[in-house]
Symmetry: C2
Subunit: 333 residues, 2 copies
Amino acid sequence: MEKYISLAHGDGGELSHRLIKDVFIESFGDGDSALFDAASVDIPVGRIAVTTDSFVIKPIFFPGGSIGKLAVAGTINDLAVSGAKPVYLTCGFVIEEGFPILDLKKIVHDMANEAKKTGVSIIAGDTKVVERGSADGVYINTTGIGIYELNKGCSLEFEEGDAILVSGTIGDHGVAVLGARGELGITVPINSDCASLNRMLAEVLEHTNGVRIMRDPTRGGLATTLVEIAEDFQVTMKINELDLPVREEVHGVCDLLGFDPLYLANEGKAIIIVAQQEKEKVLDILREYPEGKDAVVIGSIVGKEKGHLLLETPLGSKRLLTRLSGTMFPRIC
Amino acid sequence: MEKYISLAHGDGGELSHRLIKDVFIESFGDGDSALFDAASVDIPVGRIAVTTDSFVIKPIFFPGGSIGKLAVAGTINDLAVSGAKPVYLTCGFVIEEGFPILDLKKIVHDMANEAKKTGVSIIAGDTKVVERGSADGVYINTTGIGIYELNKGCSLEFEEGDAILVSGTIGDHGVAVLGARGELGITVPINSDCASLNRMLAEVLEHTNGVRIMRDPTRGGLATTLVEIAEDFQVTMKINELDLPVREEVHGVCDLLGFDPLYLANEGKAIIIVAQQEKEKVLDILREYPEGKDAVVIGSIVGKEKGHLLLETPLGSKRLLTRLSGTMFPRIC
């Protein structure tokens, strides 16, 4: 087999056919469904969740993951926070001419692995090749389909006093990826938190009551995601700076370089807002999972109708937080 | 609003938020579903069809269409040929820094237009921005979900004598796009055939019997698609060179430049293989539609178990056709 992707791998002819067979079917299998064509699959319930995401992360391999693992986990998490059980994934590749086929195999292997671990099937795919200089290695789109297995979802209704939880330390992914790019000028001993959260979040939904909303704070970080919730549902939130779980190493990098962990991307964390009296039960469940062992309460809903996010500093003053504005870091996911 | 896409449009913060509002929701609407997040939609219990496709066509605007129209029609056709009724689409954009926002609006408008015409809803989306030089304008992934409304599908079982039909002239898209790139050194007065075929193909399935298979001969052209069918189902096919519908202008370009219309891409054509006695009924239905007015029979199944595609030339000799091999034309879709 060739060592590098050529334009002919994308023209739908003989080489495309072999690439699909040797790289994709080799890892994904071709099970019941015609991989790389329209797949026909069963849906047991009348409502589905659908989400799509393109991944352009640089570098494609980073401490704690790869674009392949991320492309699966990222889309699975979008389904999981919506209260759906992820069941099917599609993947679309745009590959630059000259890309090493061994790297493509590693990426596809990571995807297959993460899909298997989380119980989703990759049912359809597509590969396009563009000329050298028209992409940067490989970009992957994944689209996920989930089903609502539980009769319980997030209420999307909030009350004063509701607790705001985060399932672990923030900013790990952002710092790990920037470190891997060599742009920081320092070595960063941090792994990305890239992980699929579907089983953990399904257990939270199933075994507790009063979950208002779940979200994954990826691009834009924790602050941007909370601002979106505050604005969408017209509630005012207060979070406490001292309660934010931030790794020492992430703190160090942020202090040194002027970043704010509140705006750094996460790829294996969930925000959960839940009725005050249920917060301990949710924390107990989260902490049973490796991905949730550092879960904590970081604040609460303090009012309605304003749509604001307030940060209480260690000195007791309150700062109004806004969405991320201006690029901090392109191609973080 | 800004005139050009900047990296900050892709970071998930304030500018991403405004881009989604001003460009995407403006055209697609935000209906029932949270556009640009996981959407929750109704589906009849049972079986669904799922397909995904990335579009990297160059140029992004071409005679007869744009990457936007193509990204919708292409995925709709993949569902339609599988016998499903397309109902939902997702879209994922990878945009190069510096891309004109007016062009993005035109593309999104074309997508909304084509979706409306064909009766599908665009329910989820995603936008990523990469640095100047890391993409060529814009790449779009669309993933389509279809339902099986009819109790009738393609039998995927073949008999000797089954007729092979094509719904119109071949090679129009390939020649139009190459012409638009200015690579041919000549002016080509041809429009791409880019069109959604879902209504026409649904009527064929509904009102006739004995449809064996339907496929859309895109990348790789008519010959590659027929070879795939021949190999997958172990049937031998014969098509007649004199019966192939090829526009005079396409013939002209092919003769001049040494292309073979059998291997040129189509984006609004279907191959239908149907029981011999039903072929006239199918032709009658196809010809009622503007996209099917040039439909003809081009050959038949002549044997089983061989997996070959034969071309009968005007002199009566037979040539074995293979898949497209080696790149003819990158980025044709």
